[in-house]
């Protein structure tokens, strides 16, 4: 490895993400290289800047009590506890993480339709009449939560999805109590997570489940090609 290659490894070493062979080689070099020691310090700072680019999320107030109680500090609750609000914050965090760093998405925020979509998601999450339905509790298989609002629609947050192959996409479906599945929208995944807003053409009360299938990308679908999972609405 030459000096440039060692320099390039500084950030990954600072993350603790070097494979063992490279790590040993880098550490041996680091001991005698002032440039790399300076590079490591700069890499630490760059990594911090990347982490701190994450939007802040307020944790539940009880956590403050819990943490401070652990140090024998006087605990003063700042606001009453509203469980629903914090559940919303947690889910909002997942949505933010899903869309986070997505420059394409950020660019699309100027698009009115996309803004409207985000507002719909926000409304579903914030509504006191939204019901949560979890599905697929097995960690290895697709699992997640449905946020079901009778008027606004259904928000699906699914984990454990494998990235679709090139030329394929995930498609969300609503399954009526009677009649054929209705395709809703194509969506992709990020780190195994997929989020889909299912604006059903039928009243939610007429639906028995939602489903997700793998389909050829950019091709209209009439029926699911390969169903990945179906989640009953409870």
């Amino acid at each position: 490895m030459n000096q440039d290659q060692f320099t390039e490894l500084c950030e990954l070493y600072a993350l603790g993400s070097l494979d063992s062979g490279e790590r040993v080689e880098f550490e041996n070099h680091l001991a005698g290289c002032q440039d790399c020691r300076a590079g490591l310090s700069q890499a630490m700072e760059l990594n911090e800047m990347i982490w701190t680019a994450t939007s802040q999320i307020k944790p539940r107030p009880q956590l403050r009590s819990r943490v401070l109680a652990g140090f024998g500090q006087p605990v003063k609750e700042r606001r009453p506890f509203f469980g629903w609000a914090f559940a919303v914050a947690a889910v909002a965090a997942l949505v933010i993480a899903y869309f986070g760093w997505n420059a394409e998405h950020t660019a699309r925020l100027s698009n009115d339709a996309e803004l409207a979509r985000l507002r719909e998601i926000q409304q579903i999450l914030q509504s006191s009449t939204t019901k949560q339905v979890t599905f697929g509790p097995q960690p290895a298989a697709p699992h997640g939560t449905l946020f079901v609002h009778q008027k606004l629609g259904i928000l699906l947050i699914a984990d454990g999805l494998t990235a679709p192959q090139p030329g394929q996409t995930y498609e969300s479906w609503v399954i009526p109590k009677t009649g054929a599945p209705i395709p809703i929208e194509a969506f992709t995944t990020s780190n195994g997570r997929g989020i889909s807003l299912l604006r059903s053409p039928l009243p939610v009360s007429d639906l028995k489940a939602i489903a997700v299938s793998l389909e050829p990308a950019n091709v209209p679908v009439l029926k699911p090609t390969k169903v990945i999972f179906a989640a009953p609405l409870g």
Partner: protein, 167 residues
Amino acid sequence: MAELYDKYAGLLYAIILRSVANQATAEDLVQETFLRIWNRIHTFDTERGRLEGWIVTIARNRAIDYLRSLRSQPGESTTSLEDLEQSGLFVTRETEADRLTRRKAVGIALSQLNEDQREVLELTHFQGLTQTEIAEKLHKPLGTVKSLVRSALKVLRTGSLPAAGSR
């Protein structure tokens, strides 16, 4: 500690939640983070060091330690994350204003990454995966992953340089 909590809890919670994607686990790890800060704050030179950097690094490392324990890889093949929390690594001569400017520049650089670069960066920075693990996860050749990581970091490194910032 209450002041530290009020100032940093939102940021630490967000970073940890982004990694572990579970509210209860994130709360446990935030508590563990503050405990570690409390136990080691006496070793930190707050006059010369970047306190926020140190705190954020501790939080991120707790999340990665947790994820690695789930993957049954408690740091055997990777750098000990504890070694990367030594206060000497956080010494800086920059002013707060300079750092703020650079931070904004990094934010801009992040938005310039393409989808593949963002994906590998998420996996290195927030999931703690090595390049080999990323290659396996994404079913991509190791060389491709290394190239993606290198190019992503180059964009950010260049973007974070003061001269290339948003000043």
